[in-house]
Structure formats: C-alpha cells, structure tokens
C-alpha cells in the first residue's frame, strides 16, 4: 500500500519544510499558530514513520525503502536512502521523541517559540537523514548540518552559561567529524564511489584500516560520547533547555553509536578487532568511573548526563565484544549477536528513559528554576502523580527488571560473560552504581520532609505533562516486558553484520 511513496524522503523533508513554515508563521507574540503548526507537522511526521515500522520486512537483512537519485555527478555522490533493522527503530524513535519535545516546550518557551519549534523540526529531518543515508557524503552533510539547529537551541534558550556550552559543543563535534571527512575522501579514492555499501565490500590493508578506524573513532566517540572526550556533554546538557537535553540524550548520542555500526565495524573489521581492547577499556571506564562521577553530582541534569555516558558505555561495550567472544570460544562468533543486539536495545531504551528523566527534571525546573538536588526534598507530598512517574523512570534508569533499562544491559552483560568474566564483572557494577546514583537522587528529591516553602507551594503536573510522561512510562514498561518485536526487527541485520565482521577484509598477500 505504501510501497510507492518515498517514505524516507517524506520523513526528511516534511519536518524541514514544516520547520521553515513554522519559522515564517512565528510573527505573532504568543506564537500560538506556530506552535499548533509545529505540533501538526511533528504528528504528521510520526504518522509517516508508522508504515516504516509496520511495513518493515524483518525477513531480510537487505536495505529497504530504497530511494536513489544522482546528486553530484562530478563526485559520484548520490541521494541514496534506505533502512535496515539497525536504522529503522532509531528513525521511529526520532519521530516519536520530537512530538514529545514539541509538547514539552508548549507553555515553557516564552522567548521566540516559533524559532524554537522550527529548530527542533529541522533537526528532526536532519537526524532522520543521518539514519537513512546510504551515501557517505549525504550522511556527512546531514551529520554536520544537524549541529546548526542544536547550536542555536542551546545558545538561545539555554541556561546562564549557554554560550560557552554551545560553542564547546559545536567545536568538539565539528573537530571530531572533520577527520571522518578525510577518511571518507580516502575511501572514495579507493572505492571510486561514496556508497556506504561499496565501502563495506572494499578490501583495505591493515595499516590503512587502523588509520580509518581512528578517524571514525574521533568522530563517533565525541558524539557518543566516550571517555575522555565526553566533557562537552555535561555542559551542553546542563545549559540546554529541556527539549534540547531530550533530543541530545535520546537521539544525538545514538548517532555516534549508529556510526560505529554503520561505518567502523563493517568498513574496518580488522582494525576493530585489533583495537577492541581499547574500545572495551574505554567503555568500561565510562561504565564504572563515570558511574562514580555521577554519584557525586549536585545538579540533577548533570547527574543524568553522566548516567547517559555510563549507559552509552554499555552500547559500545556490546558492539566491540564479538572478537573477545570468538577468542574465548575457539573462533566461534555465537553469542556475538547478543552483544550487538543488546547495545541496540540499550540505545532505544536509553532514548525513552533519558528523555523521561530530562523531562522530569524539566517539570521541576519550570516550577522552581533550580536543578540543585539540595533545593528539593519531599516533592512526593505536593506532587504525588509526578513522584510516581519519576520513581518509575528512576527505576528504569537503574536497570530494574521489567523496565526498558534492564533488557539491553542484561544482554550485554551476558555477552560479556562469554568473553571474559572480569569484563562482565566491571560492567555489572553498573547495576549497583546505577541504582546508587539514581535512587539516591530520588530519595533526596522526592522523599523526606518538605525542605522549604518553595517546595511546599509546588503544584502537581498538569494534563499536558501527564500525557507526555504517561506515554513514555507506557513505552518504558512495554519495552521492558515485551522487547521481542524490537529484537525481531533487528535480528537478521545484526546476524549479517556479525557474519560480515567475522571475515577479514585485508587483501590476500598484504599485511
């Protein structure tokens, strides 16, 4: 039924063009027309993404919903779109989250609401472009262009130190991605094409693979972010408005991890193998060390930002564990798929959970204009409904079974056990650390006596906020008890990826 429509193009361009219209419609002081239009555009985009999910054929690992048009003949760059089991769920996550962000910013954003909404819509289109691009240069264009609206969002609507945070964010990510650009140009010289799938099939010598891997690593590690290039994230998160934090945590961080799956692993499998100790080491540092850092935060947003870094550590751990598993099991890659799938599930779950956590902090910040844990206490007495949601999301963040946060972590830890007991051991400390920093925060903020008059005067969440949090709570629980549809969608793609990376790409006779 939907086969004839260019669904991916619609998903990219409807929000971008809609965003431009919203910007033009935003002359009114309250910006009500602009907000309504933005909501309609985001809902429409979400609706367009549904056939992508339900029409997805999970019996093949090939690219689906392909679109192909020559774009820049001089360089052989094509407008080539398509999705597989890895990118499709992320696109749906994007369209879903953007609707929430638009609703979340409804009454809160007083300064130039039209530009705010427009920036998020344009960002949505660009992020979908990143996930669906099958041409490396098209990917790069979306990847970089996405920085522009985020730069503006943090810079205009952010907190007191927003200018520092946003410039740091931009320059960090820009620096990371320019090295990827050079790697892509080198690959173009070898493959005489910018098609990502051609890059996958290209034999590359071991030394060149290492260099390309490192160039990709700079780009993606900054985005994920991995320790030690994570320092932009707490700044950006703390200063960004709630919507900006949600998009950053729920989707932008996933772009880096997606880059590992789409570029690093399949293009440079041998370098990934020889450097997997590095990746696993950095992931474990992110999980354990950053967990401790999160423990001592006084600012709620900063705490959640650090917990995001720790959770993303699980994702990268899952992606780079296959070779250790093979080495430990006599060369068999059985079980490797579980690590990668676990990382994927963790990405989606973290998208919901971190979005929910940032929205919760946003709800409190809108009332109190403070993110300091010390300013709160006893919120449950005045905001019982809100407290219920917050506790649920905190449990999910800590990885409680039957919530979304558990599934991915559990799969990755299981895979890690197949590789090495001590890796699994360090990774499993997150179950303690995560519980410690999240629940301790909840204890101090939600429970206890009411600490001051400001807290006593708090009003519980209104219908709009209730709706957003309820939808997220539903998703968090659904994914926790019934992750099967998600796993099924990505199953064959991940299988194929594991098969692909288990074969060396070093040309015969060369070392």
């Amino acid at each position: 039924m939907f086969a004839d429509l260019p669904i991916l193009s619609l998903l990219i361009w409807v929000p971008i063009i809609g965003g431009l219209l919203v910007m033009l419609a935003g002359s009114g002081r309250s910006g009500l027309e602009a907000k309504v239009l933005a909501l309609l555009v985001s809902l429409l985009t979400f609706a367009i993404s549904l056939p992508l999910f339900f029409g997805f054929d999970s019996s093949t690992a090939a690219m689906q919903f392909n679109e192909f048009k020559p774009w820049i003949a001089a360089f052989g760059i094509n407008y080539h779109l398509g999705v597989d089991g890895i990118s499709m769920p992320l696109i749906v996550l994007t369209t879903f989250t953007t609707v929430l962000v638009v609703i979340a910013g409804w009454e809160v954003i007083k300064n130039k609401p039209a530009q705010y909404m427009a920036a998020f819509l344009i960002m949505e289109g660009l992020m979908i472009g990143v996930f669906s691009a099958l041409d490396a240069m098209l990917f790069y264009v979306f990847w970089e262009a996405m920085l522009i609206p985020m730069f503006i969002v943090i810079g205009i609507w952010g907190g007191d130190n927003r200018v520092y945070a946003t410039i740091k964010f931009f320059l960090y990510t820009f620096l990371g991605s320019v090295f990827m650009l050079i790697a892509l140009l080198w690959l173009y010289g070898q493959a005489d094409s910018f098609a990502i799938l051609d890059f996958h099939a290209l034999p590359i010598s071991a030394t060149a693979q290492i260099w390309i891997f490192l160039a990709f690593l700079v780009a993606f590690a900054v985005k994920v972010p991995m320790w030690p290039v994570h320092t932009w994230l707490p700044d950006a998160h703390v200063q960004a408005p709630t919507g900006g934090s949600v998009i950053l945590a729920a989707i932008m961080l996933k772009l880096g991890a997606y880059g590992f799956l789409r570029f690093s692993l399949p293009i440079t499998p041998d370098a990934s193998q020889s450097l997997d100790w590095l990746m696993i080491g950095l992931s474990l540092i992110a999980i354990a060390y950053i967990g401790f850092v999160a423990l001592v935060q006084r600012d709620m947003k900063k705490l959640i930002a650090y917990s995001s870094i720790a959770h993303m550590g699980f994702v990268t751990l899952g992606f780079f564990i296959p070779w250790m598993i093979a080495a430990n099991n006599g060369g068999s890659f059985a079980g490797a798929a579980m690590g990668i799938s676990g990382g994927m599930v963790q990405m989606i779950a973290h998208g919901f959970v971190s979005a929910a956590m940032f929205l919760c902090v946003g709800v409190m910040y809108d009332r109190m204009h403070s993110r300091e844990i010390n300013d709160y206490g006893g919120v449950v007495h005045v905001m019982p409904k809100f407290a219920g949601f917050m506790v649920l999301f905190a449990m999910a963040n800590a990885g409680l079974p039957s919530t979304a946060g558990f599934v991915g972590e559990f799969m990755v830890i299981l895979a890690a056990f197949k590789a090495n007991f001590w890796i699994a051991f360090v990774a499993a400390t997150t179950l303690i650390l995560g519980a410690a920093y999240t629940l301790w925060m909840v204890k101090r903020v939600i429970y206890g006596e009411i600490v001051n008059e400001k807290v006593a005067a708090l009003k519980d969440i209104n219908a709009r906020e209730f709706l957003i949090l309820a939808v997220l709570a539903f998703m968090v629980l659904l994914l926790g008890v019934w992750p099967a549809p998600l796993l099924e969608v990505m199953d064959l793609t991940v299988q194929q990826l594991v098969e692909h990376i288990s074969v060396s790409k070093i040309p015969a006779g060369a070392m």
């Binding site: 920085l147 522009i148 140009l185």
Partner: protein, 479 residues
C-alpha cells in the same frame, strides 16, 4: 616580414569593455549629478554585453591569437563570466552606499570597469607581457578606487600602503619574469614551457625566477607571508570598494596562478609544489588564528580571506587537473561568499555609521530576524559547514589533496578550519545569543535587501545543488 592578421573575434569582449568604458568616461562628463543613473546603467549594460559576448564565444577548444599572446580556453571563458557576474552584483549592492556618501561618481564605475578589463586580460594572457599588462591595469584601478574618498584619512593611508606594497610586488613579479626571459629566451608561456621541458637550461636560474614571481602572485592573492596589506586595505577602503577588491580580483589572481605555474612553468611543478605547501599552511594558520583576535568585521573578513586563499592554494598545489578545477570552484565560491559577507556590512551601515565593529551585530536576531538568518547562512558557509556552498568548495579541495596522498596536509587544513569556525560562530553568537543595544530594525533600501537576500539564498541553494558549477569547473580542466 610575414604579418599574420590576428583573430580579433576572440578578444571581442575585451574590446567591447574597453570601448564602452571610454564611452562612459566621456558621457559622464556631460551628466549632471541627478542623471548619474545613466552612468550606472551604462556600466551595468557593459557587463551584460560582455557577458553575452563571452557566452557566445564559449567553446571547449583552446584557441590562441595575437601572436600567441592571448588565449581563450574554457577556463578563461568561465572565469570571465564569473567576473562579470560578480562585478555586476557589486554595482547592485553599492549604489545606495555610494550615493549616500558622495561617491556616486563616474570615476567609481570607470575605474571598476578598467579593473574588469585588466582582469580579463590577465585571465586570457598567454605571455608574460599580457599577464603583466593586465595585472597592472587591475592594480592601478584598485589603488585609485581605495583612495576615492580623498578626505578620508584612513582610506588615503590604506591606498598609500596598498600602492607602495603593490608596486613592490609587481616589481618582484617583473624581475622574476625577466629572469625567466633571460634563461628561456621567450615571453610566450607555451614556448617557455617547451624550453623547460627540453631540460637543457640552468635549473637554478629558473627556480630563482620562479621564486620572485611567486612573491608577486602571493601578494596579489593575499597569501601569508605577503598578506600584510590585506587587513589594512580591506579595513581602510570604503566598504563598497572593499567588496569589489575582495571578490572579483581573486578570480583573476587564480588565473594568474594557473597561467604562470601550470601553462608556463608546468615543468617546475616539483619546485613550486613545495613553495605552495608552505604558503598554504602559513595562510591557513595565520589567517584563521589572527582572525579570532579581530574586533572589526572588515578586518575579520580580511583574515578569513587570507585563510581562504590558503585553501585555494591547496587545490592548485595538488598538481592534478581535478585539483585546478577544485581551486577554481573554490575561487568562484569564495567570491560569492565574499560578496555576501561585505554585503552584510553595507546593509548594516548608515551615513556616518559604518557598522564595521563586531559589537554592532549584537542581538540582530531581535531586531531583524531575516537578515540575521541570512548572515548566519553566510557565516556557516564560510566555516565550511554543510549544507552551504562553502562546504563543497572545501570538500573538492580536500578531495584533490587526499587523492595525491597529501593526507597530512588535509589534516592540517581541517584542523585550522575548525579553529576558524570559532570566529564565524562568534558572529552568530553576537547576533543570536546577545541582547541588542538598540531595538530599531534595519532599514536598508529595497534593492539592497533583495540583492543581499538573493545572494545569501544562493549560498544555500548552491549548497544543496552544487552539481552544475562543479561540473563546469571540472570541464574547464578535464576534457
């Protein structure tokens, strides 16, 4: 004596511009202040006419004329078309600026058109003599244009500096040419290249000549370490003149580079390659780093221009036809962005207020969101962020150097462009994140705001569809 009749048809655009300019010079004398618009329209008509003539002469062939001193090839045609278009846009931009400041005189247009003629001669030169002739015609016009506001002390100082340093650079260039003439016995670029290819002459003398010539060329391009004049002249000159000298002459300077190094001294590629690497790296580093320290937007754009010259050199030094095409693409793209960048300064200025301090851009998003958005496009394009055209220019240059395995150079270039991104971001920060000092909206004339908007939207539009211009540039070098 065997006198061959030259093929005049090839130089029709040059002859047309010369004739028209002399005509305008005379007509203008009889015009009153109020009917000055006639001069303006005639100048624009000259450019349109030359555009049509050059377009009709466009052919993929390479033809020589005037005893091999004049060449018309696809590169020449394309660059000339670009020069007409750029200067046409400059005239559109600057009319109200000139009128408000008592500079709306025939001299401006006549000098600019003589400059255009100089550029055309340079672009089509096939002999040291024509090259030098065109260069001097252009330079002398530009010196005079900078000094057009006689009573303005800063402008006069800038003109003086420009003239003294420029004369020095020309002398260096001429000295280098004389050395090459001495060794090769010819002024004809084709013959020079042939003699060098035969390889029977003193290489040391050739290299000496090359170095002197490169000093002259680097000066015209504004490449470090011969860049000292750029910020002072860009800053001191009236903004209308700055817009002119920062855009079209870069196209001619690119032609100068190609004519000398590729057409004439292609045999010395090994030697000039290393020199250009040095010039490029210095330009990228000095241009981008010092731009950060500027508080005046015209000076900032001047240093940014220096770093762009570095990028342009990267394309040429790759030594491949694709690299030359990338360099030409870069030059054209830069002139489009330069037009818009200085166009913004023109747009912001009023009589008695030049709007050239960065502070003046504070809070522009509150005052005039549309113009702030357009300026944001320009800044991101200059920083090389997609989807704007500046990204594709950088990409094609980088591709050219990566394809000849100069990956370290590509890495240096991208690192400095990240450093450079900082000062472009700062302009955006001022416009979007800071509070304005006044709340009045900008009120530029309709003509000016339309040209500016079209220019900035072109930067976005060509960024989304860069294919056509890229293909044209490529065709000029790769057949």
């Amino acid at each position: 004596m065997n006198f061959e009749m030259p093929n005049f048809a090839l130089a029709m655009p040059e002859m047309f511009v010369l004739g028209m300019t002399c005509f305008i010079l005379m007509v203008d004398m009889f015009l009153s202040e109020r009917s000055r618009v006639v001069t303006y329209l005639l100048a624009q008509a000259t450019l349109v006419g030359a555009f049509i003539l050059s377009l009709s002469l466009f052919s993929p062939l390479r033809e020589l004329s005037f005893s091999n001193t004049f060449v018309l090839d696809p590169m020449a045609s394309l660059l000339k078309l670009a020069v007409y278009a750029v200067v046409f846009t400059v005239f559109l931009y600057t009319r109200s600026y000139l009128r408000d400041r008592n500079m709306y005189t025939g001299e401006f247009y006549v000098l600019a058109l003589f400059g255009v003629l100089g550029m055309m001669v340079m672009i089509s030169a096939h002999s040291f003599l024509t090259l030098y002739l065109g260069l001097e015609l252009l330079s002398l016009s530009m010196y005079a244009m900078v000094a057009l506001q006689r009573d303005n002390r800063v402008a006069s100082e800038a003109a003086m500096k420009y003239f003294l340093l420029g004369a020095m650079a020309s002398a260096m260039l001429l000295y280098g040419m004389s050395m090459l003439y001495g060794v090769t016995g010819s002024l004809d670029l084709g013959e020079v290249s042939q003699v060098i290819a035969e390889g029977e002459i003193n290489r040391l003398l050739l290299v000496f000549g090359l170095v002197f010539m490169l000093v002259g060329v680097a000066f015209k391009l504004g490449a470090v370490p011969f860049h000292m004049w750029v910020p002072d002249v860009y800053h001191g000159a009236p903004t209308a003149v700055t817009q002119f000298i920062s855009t079209a002459p870069k196209l001619a300077a690119f032609a100068l580079l190609i004519r000398l190094l590729v057409d004439g001294l292609g045999g010395l590629q090994h030697e000039w390659h290393d020199i250009l690497v040095l010039l490029a790296v210095l330009s990228l580093s000095v241009g981008n780093v010092i731009a950060i320290a500027q508080s005046n937007i015209k000076r900032m754009l001047a240093y940014s221009g220096i770093s762009h010259a570095g990028f342009l050199l990267l394309g040429v030094l790759s030594g491949t036809p694709e690299g030359y095409a990338a360099g030409m693409f870069y030059a054209i793209v830069y002139s489009i962005m330069g037009l818009a960048g200085f166009g913004m300064v023109l747009l912001m200025s009023r009589v008695g207020f030049e709007a050239d301090a960065l502070e003046d851009y504070k809070g522009l998003n509150q005052r005039s969101p549309w113009f702030a958005l357009m300026m944001m496009f320009i800044m991101f394009s200059m920083a090389g962020v997609p989807p704007f055209i500046g990204f594709w220019a950088k990409l094609s240059v980088l591709q050219a150097i990566v394809s000849v395995d100069l990956i370290w150079l590509a890495a240096v270039a991208v690192i400095f462009s990240v450093i450079g991104a900082y000062y472009y971001l700062r302009v955006i920060k001022l416009m979007y994140f800071d509070a304005p000092e006044t709340t009045t909206a900008l009120q530029p004339g309709r003509e000016l705001s339309m040209v500016f908007s079209a220019n900035a939207l072109l930067i976005l539009g060509m960024g989304i569809f860069p294919s056509a211009l890229m293909a044209l540039c490529l065709q000029a070098f790769v057949l």
